[in-house]
Amino acid sequence: MTQVVERPGQVLRSKRSICVDISDMKMTCNREDVLVTYSLGSCVGLTLYDPLAGIGAMIHCMLPMSKIDPEKARLKPYMFVDTGVAAMLHDMYQAGAKRQNLIAKVAGAGSPLGREETFRIGQRNYTILRKFLWKNNILIAKEDVGGTKARTLYLHMADGRTTVKSEGQEVEL
């Protein structure tokens, strides 16, 4: 009779997928985690990763500015780019990440067809995000923004890779 012996060091643990909902943010320092957010339309997804501290975070913002509804911003700060990314940076610095090490990658900010698209939510989400990061001395390393695709964004904590899946194809940012 064969006996299966499990040795802790040899057990391969499967990766844990952590879903970031619309208007949410998740941060982790676990190398086995994969942060993922689905259905990025005009919303923007931002990943911040500090390879030295081993800390990564992902946010999925719906709208650019919290001033349209301060009460909602209080309840759901990650809904808006301005309050959401500020809170994300605060949490990352608290956890030990350093600004100069942060690698920022962005996906989303799409828009429906039509040159004269009325609401321009995607475009404004991206503009406010870029401006906010610039003011905080963080440059966007890579991005996949605009167009009519719906995107899924992943941050693989094992090696800090960020990938984007759309229309059945996954590519590294």
């Binding site: 429906p112 039509g114 009325t118 609401f119 009519t148």
Partner: protein, 296 residues
């Protein structure tokens, strides 16, 4: 038989709406509505009664004292909310399924349908539109054509996507090119087969081309159009079609909908959809109150 004729013929195979939905609609349009009569219409179906009571008592409404009868639910929530509940529970078994032809998981179309319904109702209230009474119904049912095409006809979306990308078309325009019909027209035909009012079917028919809607029914078509696009924009459900639809700028201009109100409503929809979703999680599908396979 052409592909278009084949698709329209398949509408006959889609289960019909429970008769209680049509009866409630007709009764609620009468000048004097009696709550006892209304309650009896719902109580005729024990499964529906149980679900109405379960939903009415969910944390979403936050009652301190629980609701024990359908009449009490009608009094506390109002006839409009009760009808919306019954409608949602009736279509849920059809909508909460993966839609293969559109690459949607089991929650994709459901999430998009309820968010569009809520968004249309909120925009109508914000702008005080006269068509507001039908906003929820038209918003909820606007994409039912995707169920017919994606499930009952089982379309292959690859040629549609190829045409869309090659000719830079919107997804519905590519459907028209490949199939000879789009999901909006199919949805309108289904709604008519379900005996829903003509103005709701017309709004759904033109939800991607609201400027082509008959003038007296254009406001509802405009409303569903902008609610649909905003919900796709915000990522409330979506599939292979992504954001590949054309926003008709004149629709938002006719409604008087600016970016400020659109964003404000978007934030409200986000909160409401999360709450409604958790509320509906408690109701299991098809407990004697969903769409019925009947010989029509």
């Amino acid at each position: 038989m052409s592909e278009r004729e084949n698709i329209l013929a398949r509408i006959e195979t889609v289960p019909s709406l429970p008769s209680v939905v049509i009866k409630l609609r007709q009764y609620l349009n009468e000048p004097d509505v009696n709550f006892d009569t209304l309650a009896r219409m719902i109580e005729y179906d024990p499964g529906l009664t149980a679900n109405v009571l379960q939903l009415s008592n969910s944390a979403y409404f936050g009652w301190s004292k629980s609701i024990s009868t359908v009449k009490e639910a009608i009094v506390r929530l109002g006839t409009n909310r009760i009808f919306q509940m019954v409608l949602c529970m009736s279509v849920a078994p059809l909508v909460r399924k993966p839609i293969k032809g559109y690459d949607m998981d089991s929650e994709g179309l459901w999430r998009h349908s309820i968010s569009t319904a809520i968004c249309a109702e909120l925009v109508a209230a914000e702008l005080q539109l006269s068509c507001g009474g039908e906003a929820f119904t038209a918003g909820l049912l606007h994409d039912m054509g995707k169920i017919v095409l994606g499930t009952f006809v089982d379309i292959d979306d690859s040629p549609i996507k190829e045409v869309m990308l090659a000719d830079k078309l919107a997804f519905n325009e590519a459907e028209q090119m490949v199939l000879g019909i789009d999901h909006a027209e199919v949805a309108a035909a289904l709604l008519r087969a379900w005996n829903l009012p003509d103005h709701v079917a017309e709004a759904v028919r033109w939800h991607h081309q609201p400027s082509l809607a008959p003038e007296n029914q254009r406001e509802l078509a405009d409303l569903v159009h902008v609610a649909d696009i905003l919900c796709l924009d915000f990522g409330f459900g979506g599939g292979a079609d992504g954001l590949s639809y054309r926003l008709d700028r004149s629709a938002s201009e006719r409604l008087g909908l600016g970016v400020g109100v659109a964003e404000k409503v978007g934030a409200q929809v986000m909160i409401a959809v999360t709450e409604l979703n958790s509320m509906f999680q408690t109701v299991r599908e098809g407990e004697g109150n969903g769409v019925q396979h009947s010989s029509r």
